[in-house]
């Protein structure tokens, strides 16, 4: 399986390439002042407003820096009956990796989005579970 590698402060998080719609470069986002902290803003994605999550903010409690390699991964977030387009902003998205072995299963209460880990080329790659990237409360904050 091909995983898109999202690096946040040297840590690698893998996202299944099949769940990725597109990777876009970093652009200016429309700020939502009343929104939750982890929401970086709204992206004008080809004429459609897409909420963008700041993964660094969510994981490291620090906003992403504005760099060339900072990219927004457009995904289809599954929500009960339908999928919703969501942007995931990560500090460094420059490579994809093909993972052949199984992820060792992992279940963390504080980080439910981590679906396991695997060692790839000497580095640990965490598997991001897209469905659990937002806690129900967070999902409620974003999508209502």
């Amino acid at each position: 399986m091909l995983y898109l590698v999202l690096e946040i402060d040297g840590e690698c998080y893998g996202l299944n390439a099949l769940s990725v719609t597109e990777v876009t470069p970093l652009v200016e986002l429309e700020q939502i002042h009343e929104g939750p902290e982890f929401l970086a803003g709204l992206l004008n994605y080809r004429g459609r407003p897409v909420p963008v999550l700041d993964l660094r903010r969510m994981i490291k409690k620090k906003p992403c820096e504005k760099r060339y390699c900072t990219r927004i991964v457009i995904v289809e977030y599954p929500r009960t009956t339908k999928t919703l387009t969501l942007g995931l902003m990560a500090q460094k998205v420059v490579r994809s990796v093909r993972v052949t072995q199984e992820f060792s299963p992992m279940e963390l209460r504080n980080a439910p989005y981590l679906g396991g880990a695997v060692v790839e080329r000497g580095r640990i790659l965490h598997c991001l579970t897209l469905e659990k990237i937002l806690s129900p409360q967070q999902a409620l904050e974003v999508f209502g």
């Binding site: 091909l2 898109l4 597109e22 990777v23 470069p25 490579r95 994809s96």
Partner: protein, 558 residues
């Protein structure tokens, strides 16, 4: 007859004794005459040289006085040529009585023209020499001994400025005093002294001759006289023989009215008179001896003076030679110094030329440095521009990377159909990374280049400063060298001046040396002459003493 014969024999014997005496008297007379003549001759010769000296001094003084008079006459106001001519003729008239002469030679006023000028008629050696010395202007006047009109003359020359109406003319005034005329005066004096001496000697001789003539007559008469008279005659003979022996003090043994008595009395008178004469002769000869001694001693003094003079003149000659040598050596030193100074000037000139070239080069270097700085700045700007290109490359690499990501995702979605496309996507990703590395490399190279350029600019700035300082130093050095060169160039003519002066001095010393050598020669000949005269005087003294001895032999009443 026997007696007569014995008497005759005695008479013969006596007459023989008289003959011997006569012979002695004759010889002493001739010696006296010869001695006197010799004395006169030697005195004349000796005095001749001495007189020259005296003449020279006297003539010099006289000539100087004359020239002074002339000068004071001539220069009290600028005279016309007619006035000058009048003055000359007046001076000539004044001098004519003393056997002197004045010559006035017209000369060009310019010393350089004068050098070859013949003036009013051909110049003789003395005039040429005088003119040469006077031309240099080193001596106010020139004097010396020289032949003039076949006579050794003392000559004195001065240069006078010419008459008012012809400014381009100078006058060479020459006073000539022939030594002969002066010498004649002194000679005359000496000759008169010698005449007196000769007269005295002659008188003495005449007396002696008369006495001995009378004695001879008596001897002739005695042969025919009476035997009676023989005793008387014997007595008289003894008296006479005593007198002949020189004792003129004894009285006549008898006196009488007869012929023998009269003879005796006459003889007595004669002996007395002779005694008186001899006494006077003795006195005279003593006087002669003493005066000769005096003369000899004064001659000796003179010899010593002349010797001293000769010594002094030889010392002077040595000094003159030393001066000549030293002036020659100074001259050669000056010449070499001139050469050195000229060489220095040449070197300084070439040094200055070198410095000018260096200065020019330095200026070129400064300009080059400025150009290089400009180029470096341009290079720096270009490098900065490359920075912009690097950004573009980075953007391209980033977009390529993004494209490769999306491509790989699409390929994954396409499943098995997308496998090949996935490989392409991976290649694109690789290319993107290579591009990024290229941009990194370029950036670093640009940074290195910019650093190098900055260092270059800095070192160029330093170089420019150094070169500026260099230019300043070179300019200072060039200025100093110019100054040195100017001074050396100023020095060279001075050296030449000094050299010329020394050359003229050496010429002067040369002339001086010559003159001193002349003087020395004269002194030496004076010494010789004085020695000769001394010798003659001594001989004369000896003769005089001999004569005195002879005369003193006679005993006379005081």
């Amino acid at each position: 007859m026997r007696v007569a014969s014995s008497n005759w024999e005695r008479k013969q014997k006596e007459s023989q004794g008289y003959a011997i005496k006569n012979f002695l008297v004759d010889r002493s007379m001739s010696i006296l005459v010869l001695g006197t003549l010799l004395t006169v001759f030697l005195l004349t010769t000796a005095t001749r040289e001495m007189t020259d000296q005296i003449v020279r001094d006297g003539a010099l003084r006289q000539a100087q006085a004359l020239v002074q008079t002339f000068q004071s006459m001539a220069f009290s106001s600028k005279p016309s040529s007619l006035q000058i001519q009048n003055m000359v003729s007046k001076v000539e008239q004044d001098l004519k009585g003393e056997g002197q002469g004045v010559r006035l030679i017209t000369m060009p006023a310019n010393p350089f023209e004068r050098r070859d000028a013949q003036g009013s008629g051909p110049l003789d050696d003395f005039q040429r020499k005088a003119l040469r010395q006077l031309n240099e202007g080193k001596v106010p006047s020139f004097c010396g001994l020289s032949e003039y009109k076949g006579e050794v003359s003392f000559r004195y020359a001065v240069l006078l400025s010419g008459p008012e109406e012809s400014p381009g003319v100078d006058l060479l005034l020459e006073v000539v005093q022939p030594l002969g005329s002066v010498r004649a005066d002194i000679k005359r004096q000496i000759y008169s002294g010698a005449g007196i001496l000769l007269g005295l000697g002659g008188l003495g001789l005449w007396f002696l001759g008369a006495v001995f003539g009378r004695l001879k007559n008596l001897r002739d008469h005695r042969a025919a006289s009476e035997s009676i008279l023989q005793e008387q005659v014997q007595q008289l003979l003894s008296f006479v023989s005593r007198a002949a022996d020189g004792d003129l003090t004894s009285d006549v043994p008898f006196q009488g009215e007869d012929s023998v008595g009269m003879l005796a009395s006459g003889l007595s008178v004669m002996i007395n008179q002779l005694g008186e004469l001899v006494w006077q002769s003795q006195l005279l000869s003593r006087q002669v001896v003493s005066s000769l001694s005096e003369f000899a001693s004064s001659a000796l003094r003179q010899e010593s003076i002349v010797l001293e003079q000769s010594h002094r003149s030889s010392t002077l000659a040595k000094a003159a030679v030393t001066i000549l040598d030293s002036s020659l050596s100074v001259e050669s030193t000056m010449e070499s110094m001139t050469v050195v100074a000229e060489y220095t000037a040449t070197i300084a000139a070439s040094g200055q030329a070198g410095l000018e070239t260096m200065e020019w080069t330095m200026t070129q270097v400064t300009q080059s440095v400025e150009r290089i700085q400009q180029r470096l700045t341009e290079l720096n700007d270009r490098a900065g521009n490359i920075g912009g290109v690097v950004t573009t490359i980075t953007r391209v690499a980033d977009q390529t990377n993004l494209l490769s990501l999306n491509a790989s995702i699409e390929a994954e979605k396409a499943g098995d159909y997308g496998l090949g496309f996935g490989v392409v996507a991976e290649e694109i990703s690789r290319l993107a990374d290579q591009t990024a590395v290229a941009s990194l490399d370029i950036e670093e190279m640009v940074n290195e280049m910019q650093n190098a350029v900055a260092a270059g600019v800095e070192s160029m700035k330093q170089l420019a400063e150094d070169v500026g300082m260099g230019v300043l130093h070179v300019q200072t050095a060039a200025d100093q060298l110019t100054l040195i060169m100017y001074e050396v160039q100023q020095m060279v003519p001075k050296f030449e001046e000094v050299a010329t002066e020394i050359r003229s001095q050496s010429l002067l010393a040369d002339d001086m040396n010559e003159t001193i050598q002349d003087l020395e020669g004269v002194a030496r000949s004076s010494v010789d002459a004085i020695r000769e005269s001394n010798h003659a005087i001594n001989e004369l003294k000896c003769l005089a003493m001999l004569m005195q001895g002879e005369v003193e032999r006679f005993k006379v009443h005081q």
